[in-house]
Subunit: 344 residues, 2 copies
């Protein structure tokens, strides 16, 4: 009992509550693929792919066409031997969010099969985490209003999107700081700065007495020496996001001493590489945050369980489901303001 | 349900069928510590520490005195949150075999609690592995006889202990090769050679047309540049054993490009560091073997499940229980000649 007898792909459309603006990209919604696995026992497992062209080079219509291949690859396999399915899906490196969705669905089905929640299969390190919420790029007024609202809603880690305009970004940080005192900040430039602009940004923010907990992906994904330059010339911890997809990427970042933090996203790495990255980053005495693309609650669910199970993350940036207009909450966790938890 | 309500330490003595001779050490037996965990549900988990002074600096009587500390540390904890117990026991870095025994007992108890075998909790990558068997240092005659017997018993990977006498070792390899054609060889010098002796050994064996699958720990544990010298001047893959205890050791070996292989032993690393090492070594595109100290079947059991679950190992050197006079086989696996397996 545990054999996969059916695999279903379903397209799911979600709209953002308001357009989501980051460097070079304004998004009004997302089309995700939901994966349902059915086992011979009748147990079902769910996963979600939230494709990203910008980060993964993925197009949802292309991913959808992988349906037959995926069925042929995993039908008849037993989720109790989940690493065998992980090894097979690791070959789908050109469609990482689909790999992630399948691996998540496999773990979810295994969990249902044995009656043990995913976070306990992964080690049960924590039972509560706290997510940040994101202020996207906008007019100064709107950025301040969004930050104020987030802070009022109880979030104490605020992610601020920057990278399009250095002086506007600095002004925005200064004004956001004034209305959210006591919060921690993750600043994400999404590759928008040059290395020298990034250092300039960090130094000017530092001189204003504002602390940044994580300075995410200041420079281009492929500019590893640029990341290292910012790391060694900035007072704030520097994180790789777009530069860190696979475990091989992360080993290179470690070897080159390029970052203080890695932002793991299941949509970039799947469960398999995410587990490897957790172990490598900890062995290198660096730090971890966990992010998301545009997953609904069903996709965010797996990241919540991954975070609770491994207990490896200093920051959790799992707010996409809070920004999408989803009819029904489908996570196997509870959410109260920023808190995400399971009851033991 | 899953809370630890009792922790028992028991000393267990085993004798070798014949004295086991490696570089600088002849051993006639071992005194191990068996750990029994009892859960509030009544489920029990077992682990075994096989201490090594030579490799870990451990003395069994000292480890036994950790009993109260271990009880105070883990009593009342829930095995379903096994990573929390792993994190606490990671602090026991001066007694790694005891850390391993506790972590193994925790996974075993979790497995009993949920009715899922340990190898499936870890991913169920394989259901069969094959172990080598070891020819210890002895007279040439006895080495040949032992190799012949091992080969007749169906073992197709033979581990040969060398490192005390270069010319005798070369002669022994040559004679063993003649009577075991078709076998693969793991040659373990247990730190006995200088880097230049190790290269000399490898080159002379190579010139005789004998292939060595893994050349283990040719030089001193602390001589990482020596390992690297042998790696880059030998035709055979070089493995770290005594040089590789923790994940931090292995990250250094990877950074310094010192080895082709890492020999993981749970007694050196516990489950926690072993999992990390598996991920790091694979990310570095290096290879893995899994070894043992002097565990009985109960300790070897955990290594078998670790190997089956992760599926990460090219060679398995899990023969200690085959050399000890144990009254009852207590592994949760089956053994037929070199094959170790679980029935699905």
């Amino acid at each position: 009992m545990g054999k996969i007898v059916d695999v279903k792909f379903t397209l799911k459309e979600y709209r953002y509550d308001k357009p989501f603006h980051i460097v070079g990209n304004i998004s009004s919604g997302t089309t995700n693929i939901e994966i349902e696995l059915i086992l011979d026992s009748g147990a079902r497992g769910y996963g979600e792919a939230s494709p990203s062209f910008r980060v993964n080079g993925e197009k949802v219509e292309v991913l959808f066409e992988m349906q037959n291949f995926v069925r042929e690859t995993i039908m008849g396999m037993d989720v109790r031997n989940y690493r065998r399915i992980f090894d097979l899906t690791d070959k789908m490196f050109a469609t990482p969010s689909l790999k992630a969705a399948i691996q998540c669905a496999v773990l979810d089905a295994f969990s249902e099969e044995i009656g043990v929640p995913v976070y306990q299969i992964l080690g049960g390190a924590k039972n509560t985490i706290e997510t940040d919420k994101t202020v996207s790029i906008d007019t100064l007024e709107n950025r301040i209003k969004e930050a104020t609202d987030i802070f009022k809603d109880g979030f104490r880690v605020i992610k601020v999107k920057v990278g399009e305009n250095l002086s506007e970004d600095i002004e925005a940080m200064e004004e956001i700081y004034k209305v959210t005192k006591g919060a921690k900040y993750i600043v994400d430039a999404n590759m928008g700065y040059t290395p020298k602009q990034a250092v300039e940004f960090a130094k000017r923010i530092y001189r204003k007495g504002i602390d940044i907990s994580v300075f995410e992906q200041p420079v281009l994904a492929t500019d590893i020496s640029g990341l290292k330059f910012v790391r060694f010339n900035s007072p704030f911890p520097v994180a790789a996001d777009e530069s860190a997809h696979t475990k091989y990427d992360v080993l290179r970042l470690i070897r080159e001493e390029a970052v203080d933090y890695v932002n793991i996203k299941l949509m970039k790495s799947g469960i398999s590489d995410a587990l490897a990255i957790v172990e490598m980053v900890k062995a290198a005495n660096l730090q971890l945050m966990l992010g998301c693309m545009a997953e609904s609650s069903i996709g965010v669910n797996q990241s919540v369980h991954f975070a609770l199970g491994t207990g490896a993350f200093d920051f959790h940036d799992l707010d996409s489901h809070l920004m999408l207009n989803e009819e029904t909450f489908r996570g196997k966790f509870k959410q109260k303001g920023p808190k995400m938890f399971v009851e033991e």
